[in-house]
Amino acid sequence: MAANPRDVPLTSRRGFLQAAGAASAAALTIGFEWRLSGRRAMAAGAIPATGDTNFVPNAFVRIGGDDSVTIIAKHLEMGQGSYTGIATVLAEELDANWANVRVESAPADAKRYANLAFGMQGTGGSSAMANSWNQLREAGAKARAVLLAAAAQQWQVPVTDLRVEHGVIHSPDGRHATFGALVATAATLPVPETVVLKDPAQFKLIGQTIPRVDAVAKSNGTAQFTIDFALPGMLVALLQRPPLFGATVKSLDASAAQAIPGVVQVVQVPAGVAVIATGFWAAKRGRDALQVQWDDTQAEKRSSAAIVAEYRDLADRPAASARKDGDALKAIAGATKKIAATYEFPYLAHAPMEPLDAVVKLSSDHCEIWAGDQFQTIDQANAARAAGLEPAQVSIHTLYAGGSFGRRANFYSDYIVEAVSIAKAHGAGVPIKLQWTREDDIHGGLYRPLYVHKLEAGLDEHGALAGWRHVIVGQSIMGGTPFAAMVKNGIDPTSVEGAANLPYAVPNVQVDLATTKTGVPVLWWRVVGSSHTAFAVESFMDEVAHAAGKDPYEFRRSLLERESRMRAVLDLAAEKSGWSTAPLPPGKGRGIAVAEAFNTYVAQVAEVTVGADGKVRVDRVVCAVDCGTPINPDIITAQMEGGIGFGLGAILYGEISLQDGHVEQNNFDSYRVLRMNEMPKVEVHIVASALPPTGVGEPGVAPIGPAVANAVFAATGKRVQTLPFTKGGFA
């Protein structure tokens, strides 16, 4: 299976050697930092150096004498298809032979590999393709220009006479050369400052369904995740964290733990007590045997019910203004018909399938990290602080991540810092793998915040929407973090996105935010603000439409005249679902919702069956998406399908609840997620577009909750206003 270089596990060292054996070793000797350090750690001289030249025109591509085209991905591959998308865009402008393309993860180096949307290296906000679109196209086009110049020089023909096809340059006189045959000359030529990009009409790869570069390795068990990565002599650590957020170690008796065979050391670190052992099982048994007394004087001890009650109270008090058009309070007060609703959203865990883990090798002057790393620049800085080193002394090897959904993109680098602090406490320079358990993950905080939303609207005597008031109450994700500068006038944009930018044409709009503090650490979760705002806005808009006696699709449509892209996806989803043409029998219902997130527009129509027991079964979801230029239609489709499954599990079942500060869920038995028998049939329709591409990893999550809740209303006349659905007996 490894005959095709795309089929080897891309970030695996073992795959690396297989590739080296299969292809020329020449392409493997280039001086990208992570490779060099990786080789040092493995076995000095394992890959023989050769005199062959590689052509490395920029930080994103390396062309080998063996014709290999290695594309350097600055973004984490966590399932969203970034490696395939990145390779497609660069290979397109390069006119590479796709069969020779392979992908390698970039080292941590913000100078070369910053996310241009963040100003630092990291993946998130569905920005991978959007921020690198021009960068990758230019990188590919410049490499192509130099290869053409090399051929022109070798053959003494005008460059304009040459053409490139599938990694081969052709001259009108019949001479031709593969990229590999030109690398020696190309490496001596200057890279142009500017280059003309392709006319999209000439695209051969972009817009096509290119198979994912990781599909084979992820279907035969060879894809290498952090949990699979091992170094000689490596030890495994599990960390006992406090049972309450904010508690600290009061006293420790490690004697029983140390008596467990295989336990090497018990160390106290800022985050808790770590058991270091020869393997996972010994570390787990050792951790189970720890006797720790905790000081919980500073800990969060409230229950979710108390937090919700506080938030409901705050929703009626003055708050910071996120948007004010006209006078919504007056318009609602004077309305012919008034509508009001309050929505409750629980804390949610991300629960990626791979429990968090990191491997750290720490010496006096270097900290080397292997992880499914999503925030390289921040992780580098936090790891350096924990290790007592400079960021430049920290190198990061980004491996495949077994999911993230936002969890690995955190300002605190919690799992990385834990691993570094354990390696430091161990002190012997032995590589350490920190492994979280599922319970660690469910209890581990950095949840999607709990929110309460209160909405009010007023209809005038003609049934027109005259005023809209929306109050959001919840914790800030970015306040107090390195992103705190994004919080302005008391408004964390991630708390109000999807609400303050209400797209509907309403003359009087007021959106307010009350930012709260609790001891529960919070973080963004797939589609961030729209994971709750879309539910509140689109459920409430449905209520307003029904109050106005209008069809919920037509009512939305009438308010989106100036939002052509949003209206187009709404129309497409309605049309493909048979919204106006195919009524459903009793007991079934259809609901519609639309949202914009990260400049991508998604509308969904959900069809549900509500059983005699009141339980909801989602039968079918029709999804329309406009993400600008579709780079890979099948990956877009997959991300919509996946976003729907992820979002559906959360709205039906997902909840992290606190009882006296203790998280009540432990594992997938109590933190319920969507399973095979609960997955609806999904149909995805992609809007044709020539606009620059936007992201697809997150936006598909936004409309599914309200689409389903609105379908439940259509079937039963009952509104779901408290999530998850299980709380109201709907699931």
């Binding site: 966590m78 399932g79 969203q80 298809g81 198979p211 994912r212 990781d214 599909a215 084979v216 390795a217 992820k218 279907s219 035969n220 068990g221 060879t222 894809a223 290498q224 995740f225 949990i227 699979d228 065979p261 295989g262 393997g279 996972f280 099982w281 010994a282 629960a351 990626p352 399938m353 791979e354 429990p355 495949y400 991540a401 077994g402 999911g403 959904f405 492994q435 358990t437 599922r438 319970e439 099948d634 997959a638 399908e641 996946g642 976003g643 729907i644 499954g645 992820f646 599990g649 594992n667 997938f668 038995d669 997620v673 969507l674 399973r675 095979m676 028998n677 997955m679 049939k681 999904v682």
Partner: protein, 153 residues
């Protein structure tokens, strides 16, 4: 006391705590990392392997319980149903993050080995113990049907 069993066709002797879950014995002692840890309590199916051809959750199976038995992991999958399943997984582009897919493929292969033409209800019954947080369930279902079709042909 070493535990002896047959791992992917090879007689294997592991000198380890007999209460150690098979998952960790296979991953850390036998060095086969295709089988994944997802929950440790038989709730997610990421650790699914075959014991005498039947799917089991290796995270709750003590090493001692497999003494003398045949264990197959993703690395040792062979035979027509397995090849059909893996080919369908690639053809239908099932994996996203990929972490759960070894377990999904082990469950799907065991299903097809005993039921060459599973219905949607059969798939629900056989596969609902395998969680995929990326939401690839629709493609898993389609891939199982596609694999069944190639076995029939």
């Amino acid at each position: 006391m070493p535990t002896s069993f047959v791992l992917n066709g090879k007689p294997t002797h592991l000198d380890a705590d007999p209460t150690m879950p098979l998952l960790w014995a296979v991953r850390e002692l036998a060095g086969l990392t295709g089988t994944k840890f997802g929950c440790g309590v038989a709730q997610c199916g990421a650790c699914t392997v075959h014991l005498e051809g039947q799917p089991i959750r290796s995270c709750v199976t003590p090493l001692a319980a497999v003494a003398g038995k045949h264990i197959t992991t993703i690395e040792g999958l062979h035979g027509k149903p397995a090849k059909a399943v893996q080919a369908a997984w690639v053809k239908l582009q099932v994996p996203q993050c990929g972490y759960c897919q070894s377990g999904q493929i082990m469950s799907a292969t065991a299903l097809l080995a005993k039921n060459a033409a599973p219905t949607d209800a059969d798939i629900d019954a056989a596969m609902s113990g395998n969680i995929c947080r990326c939401g690839t369930y629709g493609r898993i279902r389609a891939a199982i049907h596609a694999a069944a079709a190639t076995l029939e042909a």
